[in-house]
């Protein structure tokens, strides 16, 4: 076992043994549901129910119930889509990229981040689906032969690339997440006394035996999946950005979009992980596993990705002037001084200025401050997409067709509804699934546990 440098902070606090880890993670699943959980899932369920109602109303009536008009043909729908896909980036980054970088701190957060990813991608997929108008023809997005009633899809369209990118991303993330869960399901199976839950967890565990052969294969497949998932982290949001960047609309067509969208996605994804985990660690007594150091690491990722996004904003702004192209310059002048300038300045404040506050060590180690800022960042990232989408198209080349977009109650209802569905799914996950990768955590206990680190330290001196 590799010995960790003394200056690294421990990742698992307290005097924990292997059994303590199992108890701490599996305990909440075995016991009865706490009252706060019941309360939260009721609220989330009601919001979700309302959202589903709005969606059904939309499908029954037609997309005219949104505030779209002939000039602004894309607004909240695609904004919400990109926002949710972006949030769905942190999970795979944490589980794949940080695995390749051998970052041990990811083990405390990867499971729930991956779950969040999967639920966020499902939320994202709702929006293009319901935007089609005729959702019963949704399968036409796949390249099916003409006998199925569809025309052969347009392979030149980035919207089609999106279908491939997101479905691939979703499948790989799901497999990755599930593979990681198998040993932990087995641990739960072995502890369960009641026959029915034991049976269910037994099926979920795929007959895991915990033998060395199982573990070797588990590790191999994790690395292979991480290798596959890493380019996916890049490809998904790059292709989402191409939905805009391949067009010739000023404000949309700019070459920096692919890497800048990827960075923005990781930025918002980490913010959402912070929001969820800061509640979860408290509610489920996981303070020894997800502690200030983990929060600090994630905040550093937020500084880095937020700054990359900031540099990209300024680059775009600068080049719009430098290019000398009249339309390009106008698109940006209109952004910061036109009718939607309020949304531009919200975006700038939340995404560029607010993460810089984390340079102060005290603040990035403050849980309350982090919680507030994580929400600020997600508001900012929603507005970023709103700014890109609505302000770029509300004034097109022909001033007689200039218009504005006003959200309707259905726009709002569906968006809030997806937050409800997302929260419901996450709460169910937190109740029935092992929220920490407990078997992986055990592998770092001796190198990064507080008690063991102290022991090494006294040995040496």
């Amino acid at each position: 076992m590799q010995k960790e440098a003394a200056i690294r902070e421990p990742l698992i606090l307290g005097d924990k043994s292997y059994k303590d880890i199992t108890d701490d993670v599996v305990g909440p699943i075995e016991g009865p549901a706490p009252r706060t959980w019941k309360l939260l899932i009721t609220i989330a369920g009601l919001v979700a129910f309302y959202g589903v109602g709005c969606i059904l109303y939309l499908i029954g009536t037609g997309i005219g119930v949104w505030g779209l008009n002939k000039t602004v043909g894309w607004a909240w729908d695609i904004t919400n889509f990109v926002w949710w896909v972006g949030i769905g980036h942190a999970g795979t980054l944490i589980s794949a990229v940080l695995l390749l970088f051998r970052q041990k701190w990811r083990m405390a957060i990867n499971r729930s981040a991956e779950a969040m990813t999967i639920f966020a991608v499902i939320m994202a997929a709702i929006f293009p689906g319901i935007h089609m108008g005729r959702i019963w023809c949704a399968y036409w997005v796949f390249p099916l032969p003409n006998q199925f009633g569809s025309l052969w899809v347009n392979f030149n369209s980035p919207l089609l690339w999106d279908v491939f990118a997101i479905s691939t991303y979703f499948s790989v993330s799901l497999v990755f997440w599930y593979i990681g869960l198998i040993p932990d399901f087995a641990t739960i199976r072995d502890r369960m006394v009641k026959p029915l839950p034991k049976k269910i967890y037994g099926i979920l565990a795929f007959g895991w035996s915990g033998r060395a052969k199982n573990w070797t294969r588990f590790e191999e497949v994790s690395l292979v999946l991480a290798g596959i998932a890493t380019p996916l982290v890049f490809s998904v949001h790059s292709i989402v950005s191409m939905d805009f960047a391949t067009s010739v609309i000023p404000g949309w067509h700019t070459t920096i979009f692919p890497p800048y969208f990827v960075s923005g996605a990781v930025f918002s994804g980490f913010a959402m992980v912070q929001t969820l985990l800061l509640i979860m660690r408290k509610a489920m007594n996981l303070e020894n596993y997800i502690h200030v150091r983990h929060v600090e690491y994630m905040n550093i990722v937020i500084i880095v990705t937020g700054s990359i996004v900031g540099v990209a904003y300024l680059t775009e702004l600068f080049i719009s002037w430098y290019s000398g192209v009249e339309y390009e310059s106008y698109a940006f002048i209109n952004r910061f001084s036109g009718p939607y300038s309020w949304s531009y300045w919200i975006m700038m404040t939340c995404n560029v200025i607010s993460p810089q506050l984390f340079w102060v060590k005290k603040w990035r180690r403050s849980l309350t401050f982090t919680f507030v800022l994580s929400i600020v960042v997600n508001i900012g990232m929603w507005f970023e997409r709103y700014v890109i989408i609505v302000t770029s198209i509300h004034r097109d080349y022909n001033p007689s067709s200039w218009g504005e977009f006003h959200a309707t109650s259905i726009d709002i209802g569906i968006f809030v509804g997806t937050i409800g569905i997302f929260s419901t799914l996450f709460l169910l996950f937190a109740r029935f699934f092992p929220v920490l990768a407990l078997n992986e955590l055990k592998s770092i206990l001796k190198s990064s546990g507080e008690n063991f680190k102290k022991l090494h330290h006294t040995d040496n001196h």
Partner: protein, 419 residues
Amino acid sequence: MEFKFEGRLKTASMVLMVIGVIALVGGFITDSSDHHQRWWANLLVNGFFYFAIALGALFFYALQYAAEVGWSAYIKRFFEAMYAYIPYGAAVILIVLLAGQFHAHHLYHWMDHTLYHEFMVVGSDGATTYSDTKEAGAVLNPNYDHIIANKSAYLGGWFFWLRTIVYIATFVIFARLFRKWSLQEDEVGGTKIHFMMYRRSALFLVFFAVFSSTLSWDWLMSIDTHWFSTLYGWYVFSGMWVGCMIFALVSLLYLRTKGYFQELNDSHVHDLAKWMFAISMLWAYLWFSQFMLIWYSNIPEEVTYFTQRIFTDYKVPFFIMFFINFAVPFYVMIARDAKRNPRFILPVAFLIFVGHFVDTYLLVIPGTMFDHNEFGFMEVGMFLGFLGLFVYVTFNALSKAPLIAKNHPFLQESQELHH
């Protein structure tokens, strides 16, 4: 243990430098292009390419501190040696820029001050004065370029020079300080210096994040003065980074065969090769993003850049360069065992090192030599000559300090690296 810079390596680097001097002198004399444009253009290519590798080393070094990386502690002195080249590279770039400012060449079209004024007055003595307003007797200035005139606040004038000096000063100062602190740590030990470098590295990365983009706009993108691309800076940055990883990996493998860095094991080599592989992919991703979006949209103000490279004689090197820099590392280096085996690493590394040189070459040459470029001994000789200089400066700097930073807090982690 100290490294002794002597023997075949030293001789080889000196022979390369002699070839370089012959290429510089002979090339200048034989270069028949107007104002020795071809010579100057190649000086810029080489000046930037090797400067970028050294800058990549400084970036990577700061990244190791800022990200609290353990595995690389054992080899960090090599990156210090590489970034010792920064002042030399900067000097070459400064010479090219100064010569341009004094109109010794015409690499930067925007350095022609006649472009910025809409009107001109031709006096009776034949002297021309330029003005922005229509004075008595003024005629339209045929040289006037309204697109470039629009950029005058950024390009034409003192602001350009201020930026250039600030970039170079920042890099030189940080490089010297990091080296100084690193050597100090050898003497005094403890963790105080380490944490100071951690904070200063983060600060450096902030500067670098902005300057790496703006310097590539200033020194390279402005060659094609009308053209613009927001991704350009990040694309050039990825080239810097991969160049640094290639040079470091090859050199460390060489040093190991000569009895230095004996604790450099397969896991270190694997990690370095992973970086070379990963950044090659990052570079290819950025190259493709920029190319595809411009090709797809096909709007005249942007696509000219690629028509100049694709519908001309540059087509063949342009696409071969992309193929080599992307496909070769992708297919050869993707396997785990290949990343640990010098027999796979070395041929790929040599090939993509030249590949990335050609990439830099194609950033500069099509916009300066247009369709009357030539390629001959001068190009090859200058590439080899600057390689010799880079090797000489790097290994000379390496010999000036102990090879191992013995008080680095992560040294033990790095020496015990095994995965």
